[in-house]
C-alpha cells in the first residue's frame, strides 16, 4: 500500500524488495558451527511506504537493516531498491542509529552538510543545508558542537544529515529508543512530518509497539533464532492516529499476544 498522497509533495521514495535473504555468521566459539541470523527473509516495501519491523532482541532486525544499507552482504538471496540490486552502501539508502553518531568534531551545520561533502556536491547544494536546519527546527544551533545538544536535538541533526542526500529509502534502527517518553512522542510526529513531506520509503526498527502502530502503514513481526518474518499486519487507520482509540488498543494487545506477552 502506498501512503496517502498529500498534494504537492516530493515523491522521493523507491520500492524495496528483500528476496529470500539468509545470513549466517561464524560462531564465537572454536566449533566450526555457524549461527543463522536470518533465514529466508522475504518482503517488499512499496515506494513511499512506512513499514516497521518489531521483534524480540537478537531476532536479526539490525542485521537485516545492515544488509539493506549495504554495510554487510547476505549469505544468499537478493536485495533490491527499485530494480537495482544492492551491492554496497550508497547515499540512496540513509541510515539513522539509536546513537545519533554525529561527528563530534563538526558543528551541527557541518554535520548536516557532511552528506553533501561526501558526495562532492557541497558547493552546488550548499543552500539546502539551511533548509534542512530549518526543517528539523535547529536554526539557533547551527554553529554548536554536538555535545551541547540534548538527545532529541542530536537525533534531529542525524535525521537531517541522513535526509540531505535525498535518499530513496531511510532506514531507522531504533532511532528514538534512547529518548525519554515525551521527547519520543514528539520526535515520532517529527519523523512522520519529514516522511509526509518527501514520501521517502521508511523502514523503522523498533521495540515499541505503540510507536510501530502510531507510525506505520504495515508492521512486520519477526521471530528470533533464526530470524524470520512471522506475521505482517496492515494498518489502515486515519492519520494522525489516536493513541487511545479502541482500534489502536485492540491492535496493541493483538501484537502483544503474537509476541507472547499477552495475558494468558
Amino acid at each position: 500500500m502506498v501512503a496517502t498522497f498529500v498534494s504537492g509533495v516530493a515523491k522521493e521514495g523507491s520500492s524495496l524488495d528483500v528476496v529470500n535473504v539468509t545470513k549466517d555468521f561464524a560462531a564465537q566459539d572454536r566449533t566450526n558451527q555457524r549461527t543463522l541470523a536470518l533465514d529466508g527473509v522475504s518482503f517488499s516495501v512499496g515506494a513511499g511506504e512506512f513499514v516497521s519491523i518489531i521483534g524480540p532482541s537478537a531476532c536479526g532486525k539490525s542485521t537485516l537493516l545492515r544488509l539493506i544499507a549495504g554495510l554487510d552482504f547476505p549469505s544468499s538471496g537478493e536485495l533490491r531498491v527499485g530494480t537495482e540490486v544492492i551491492t554496497g552502501a550508497h547515499a540512496e539508502r540513509g541510515l539513522v542509529f539509536q546513537d545519533p553518531n554525529l561527528f563530534p568534531w563538526l558543528t551541527v551545520r557541518r554535520n548536516i552538510r557532511s552528506g553533501l561533502v561526501a558526495l562532492g556536491v557541497a558547493r552546488e547544494k550548499n543552500h539546502e543545508v539551511d533548509d534542512f536546519i530549518r526543517l528539523v527546527g535547529l536554526e539557533g544551533f547551527a554553529n554548536v558542537y554536538p555535545h551541547h545538544l540534548s538527545g532529541g536535538m542530536a537525533q534531529r541533526v542525524a535525521l537531517a544529515r541522513a535526509l540531505i542526500t535525498h535518499p530513496k529509502v531511510l532506514l531507522l534502527d531504533e532511532p528514538l529508543g534512547a529518548l525519554d517518553a515525551f521527547t519520543r512522542m514528539q520526535m515520532q510526529d517529527e519523523v512522520l512530518r519529514l516522511w509526509q513531506a518527501r514520501l521517502t520509503t521508511m523502514l523503522l526498527i523498533t521495540h515499541d509497539i505503540d510507536e510501530a502502530i502510531y507510525m506505520s502503514d504495515r508492521i512486520l513481526i519477526m521471530t528470533p533464532r533464526p530470524g524470520r518474518i512471522d506475521r505482517v499486519i496492515s494498518l489502515d487507520m486515519e492519520r494522525p492516529r489516536d493513541r487511545s482509540h479502541p482500534d489502536f488498543l485492540r491492535l496493541r494487545s493483538e501484537i502483544l499476544q503474537l509476541l507472547d506477552f499477552g495475558r494468558r
Binding site: G94, L95, F97, N101, F103, S114, G115, T165, L171
Partner: protein, 343 residues
Amino acid sequence: MRDGALKVKELVDTHSAVASPKRPQRYAEKVRWSTLLALPFAGVAALCLHWFAAANEAPAEALLYTYFLSGFLVAALIAIAVQPIWSGLRSWMRDSSPLITAAVVCLVVWEIVTSVLRLLPLPYFPGPAAVLSSLVNDSGVLFDSTWHSLVLLLGGYTLGVVVGLVSGICIGWFPYARYWGMPILKIVGPIPATAWIPLAMVLSPSAMFSAIGLIALAVWFPVTMLTASGISNTRASYLDVARTLGAKRSYLIFNVAIPAAMPSIFIGLFMGLGASFLTLVVAETVGVKSGLGWYVSWAQGWAEYGKVYAALLIMAAFFSTIMTALFKLRDHVLAWQKGVIKW
C-alpha cells in the same frame, strides 16, 4: 619569611574564592593589595640582600644584577600604578604575581646559598649575578646557538611528523601496510634515536644532516604509533554512517578517520616533541658544532659554569615556548573537545 606567609595566604584565598559560588564575581573585579605588594616587597628584599652580598661578587657582575633587580622593582611599581585602569594587566597580575614573587624568592635563596654563605663549591655553582652577566655578555653567541638549535629542531621535527603521519595513517588504515609496517615499527621504534649516533656519523655526509635524521627518527616512532592506533580505533559506526551518506574511501580517511584520531595524534606529537628535545641536545653535544647543546658542553670544557646555567635558562625558555606553541595549535584544532574532556 613574610613573603612566604603572604604567598600561602594568597593561595588559601584564591582557593576559597574558587570553592565559594558567590565570591568569584566580585573577586574578579579587584586585586588584593597583598597580591600586588608582594612583588615590590620581594624586589626590595632581593635588592637589600644583594647589596649585602655584592662584596663577595665581581664588581661588574654585581652592578649588572643591581640594574636587573632595580628594573624589576620599577616594573612592578609601574604595573601596580597602571593596573587600576588596565583590566588585562590586572587579571594577569592576579594570576601571576604569586608565581613571580616565588621566583624572586628563589633568586634570593640562591644568592644566599652561593654568594653570601658560599655553601656550594665554585666554579660549579655561581651566584645569580654571575649567570646574569654570562647571559648578557655572551648574548650574541647564545642567540646564534639558539638559532642553530631552532633550525635543527624544526627541520628534524617537521620531517619526523610528516613521515610519521603518513606511515601512521597507512598502518592504521590499510591491513596490508599494518602487516608489513607493524613489525618494523615494533623493532626499530623502541631503540632510542641517540643509539644510532655511531651509525649516523658513518652514513651521513654532514653532522647537520645526521642530526636532523636522528631527530626525525625520534619523532617518527611516537607519532606513527599513536596516529596508527587513533586511526584504527575510529568508531566503526562513524564509518558506517559516512558510508551510508555516500562517502568514498578518501572521505572516510580524511574526513572521518583522521579527525577522529586527532586527540591521539596530538599525544603522539607531544611525545615526539619531548623526544626531539632530548635527541637535539645529545646530537649537538656529540656531533654538531653549534647550537645550545654544543654551547653547554663547550662552556663546561672551559669551566665557565655561569655560561652553562645561562644556556640552560635559554634552553628552558626555548623549549617551553615551542611546547606552548604546540598546545596553542592543539587548542585550536581540538576546540570541539572543549566541554567533552578536561584539558
